[in-house]
Symmetry: C2
DNA sequence: CGATTCTTTGATCGCTGTCAAACTCGGTGG
DNA sequence: CCACCGAGTTTGACAGCGATCAAAGAATCG
């Protein structure tokens, strides 16, 4: 990445980056963006199934998804896996590594993806001089925490259908923020991944997709999911815990 | 709290505070602690069942448990509840409020408790001058994130017994860090709270306690849980995802 | 001591996990 | 171009775990 990128280009390419966080009025100044940009480093695109960082590796950087999609998961000693999250463009990964110097989870691509690397040493240096950036970073981390809580709410619902409905709605909302069509989802993850994420069996997920299609809520074809009746979807979510 | 508290007293009373985080070599200097102390404000003890801050209230401060125990939970429009965490002395609460200016969850005491209030405005001021404190705060937040992930791993386990076993072991570990007896737990939360936290029915939790007692793993009497066979408990946890 | 809350225990049923097999799609090579 | 293959997905059958309903027992508090 050339260091003298003009600001408009920077805004475009990083428009919905978690750090920039365009949703908020308390954004960063032009100078701030330049400084931040200097710490960021683009990485070569990763093919599907490649590992960005493995659980246990020494912590060194945060990563922001630029394009594509990744999943993060923890792996137990007996090959037991729990998916923690799916990460779309603008999402930040690796925050858990701050606490104990090692990444507590693995990050792996679900499709060909490119990410932006924020070396922590440089980031720390930058934040020391930029209170606004520091505050922003804090908020981004807080946002990651709230996302996790939203995941917990999903898992807490005892009916499988509610979990899946809730999941789809959340994906729809995330798509909307990315200026994608919130009613025509292309899910980058497999049924098995969805099932694991929701704490269900993959057959159950497949069946539920079928059931929701029969009910006229969705139109499902492999990875393509079209929301036909948003109102019915909301209904399936039931007692709605409205997270941020 | 007098502002010229001597340092030893401060260390003692805040010995296992999340901010101080004595576990780490990269601690704060004496001056740093004094500055931090100036931002902290003790609050009157709260009785059992009282709300420290409700979901939706404007964000203003972080809170650290000094004594007692609290739970945090989100509440849906239909009274649907999901408990996010149980907070013991040294734990920090309210971080989720950073992202959107409002607390995303309610914090309520499980027993008579006292907390320490860290006004965010003052904290921000303090961090601007203290890079070490800033780093420390970042790590604390990261730690909260990892804790949430650990909760997710719990909920992902499909067998109820594993969830409860895992929960008990985690409580035991937390007790150990607080220099309490890790084999003689006094659980401050109700069966219903435990069940909700684990995504189970309260009757199931009660039955599982009974089953684990019959198996000779535990000795259970209401809120008092004694771990008789830690090895068997570990066995019940099964495919172990060892989080930090 | 009565009232309330929390916990335990029992009985039943349905959801969902598990095992199993068929099917679709994409890719590879003959 | 087609046959083959493997991964991923769908669908079916079945049983078991755990949710739900119900009621009794234990602890706390006024």
């Amino acid at each position: 990445m050339t260091s003298d990128l003009d600001l408009d280009e920077l805004r475009r390419s990083c428009g919905y980056c978690a750090i920039h966080d365009f949703r908020l009025p308390a954004g960063l100044s032009a100078d701030d963006l330049h400084t931040l940009n200097a710490t960021a480093r683009d990485m070569l695109p990763l093919d599907r199934g490649q590992t960005l960082f493995p659980q246990g590796r020494k912590f060194g950087a945060l990563y922001v998804v630029r394009a594509g999609a990744l999943k993060t998961f923890v792996e137990g000693s007996e090959g037991d896996v729990q998916i923690l999250g799916f990460h779309l463009p603008g999402d930040i990964m690796g925050i858990g590594g701050l606490i104990n110097e090692h990444y507590p989870c693995t990050a792996q691509t679900l499709e060909r993806s490119s990410v932006c690397e924020l070396r922590y040493a440089q980031l720390q240096e930058a934040t020391a001089n930029l209170p606004a950036l520091n505050h922003q970073l804090m908020r981004v981390i807080s946002g990651a925490l709230v996302d996790e809580q939203s995941h917990l709410v999903l898992m807490g619902k005892q009916q499988a259908q509610r979990r899946l409905a809730f999941f789809i709605r959340r994906m729809s909302d995330r798509y909307a923020r990315l200026s994608r069509d919130p009613l025509a989802l292309i899910l980058p993850m497999s049924r098995e991944d969805i099932a694991n994420y929701l704490g269900l069996a993959l057959e159950t997920v497949s069946r539920l997709f079928g059931r929701m299609e029969s009910a006229g809520v969705l139109s499902v074809n492999r990875k393509s999911v079209r929301i036909l009746r948003r109102d019915l979807l909301d209904e399936l979510c039931g007692g709605d815990i409205d997270m941020a």
